[in-house]
Subunit: 139 residues, 2 copies
DNA sequence: AAATATTTGCAACGATGTTTCTTTTTTTTA
DNA sequence: TAAAAAAAAGAAACATCGTTGCAAATATTT
């Protein structure tokens, strides 16, 4: 069976044109995608609302995760296998390339532990690095 | 001279009612402020556009800095003295309290160094911690 | 293949942020 | 300190982003 269909079924999502196209985009893209990228690149046109709802359901199911960026726009990227409905485990660093503007998950770079004064409780650490990505650096 | 007026003059900003009120808000608040907080709490009413422009000019001058949050809203907080026009040096960790929702600069907690594979170049590291703030933790 | 459940598209809405232009306020200078 | 020049504020219009309610279309179940 088509791996895209497989992923959708596995997550109890009905298989629709929009979901297949959007998931396919994520599978074939190496960086993170913003809502606008998705709306433009799905081939056929889907309503903005549909895109929002699809992204939301993918996040809920643990198929993709959100990446906060300093310019106030949310990006989305595929999760690794450990994520599932109601629990994400994306403890890696994100890189925003200041040359090409793309955002990447650095899956092998684990977020460093942050030690706060004892009056605080740490629940989750989010690290976004601004820098130059691999492919821009080799040009 | 009034310290608020002093700061404005020092940064080559003309001294206006709006700027004084907004700067005063920052000086008297211990957490970070969102645009909406500012619009509501300046006492007299200022146009939204004025608030946006004031915040922008404060950021440009190095008086305040922005804090990215995962819910896609920008918060602003006072810079320490080393910042100036065109150069910010706010290398501290930010905490978003999941109980009270406020955002704080942890000025004493320096952002940890992040080591990336050698194909990458690191320019800037942004760390946002989700957790419980001091005052919520003591209740 | 029909019945049911789910998803889509559309319209409308609210919040956020920007731009242009005119009026008002602040600063300069004379 | 009054007039001239510069800067900022306010108003209106517009663009983008994200959400909600509802009717039509599409998937899934039986």
């Amino acid at each position: 069976m088509d791996s895209i269909v497989h992923i959708l079924k596995q997550n109890n999502l009905s298989v629709t044109e929009g979901r297949r196209r959007i998931l396919s985009l994520f599978l074939s893209s190496n960086g993170a995608l913003a809502h606008a990228d998705i709306e433009k690149n799905t081939g056929s046109h889907f309503d903005r609302v549909t895109v929002y709802r699809t992204l939301q359901s993918f996040v809920d199911k643990g198929i993709i995760h959100t990446i906060p960026t300093s310019d106030n726009s949310i990006k989305y990227a595929l999760c690794k296998d450990e994520c599932g409905e109601g629990h994400h485990h994306d403890h890696h660093v994100h890189l925003v390339c200041s040359r090409c503007g793309n955002t990447f998950c650095l899956d092998d770079v684990v977020t460093p532990a942050v030690k706060l004064p004892h009056e605080y409780i740490v629940q989750q650490v989010e690290v976004v690095v601004k820098g130059i990505c691999r492919s821009c650096n080799h040009k």
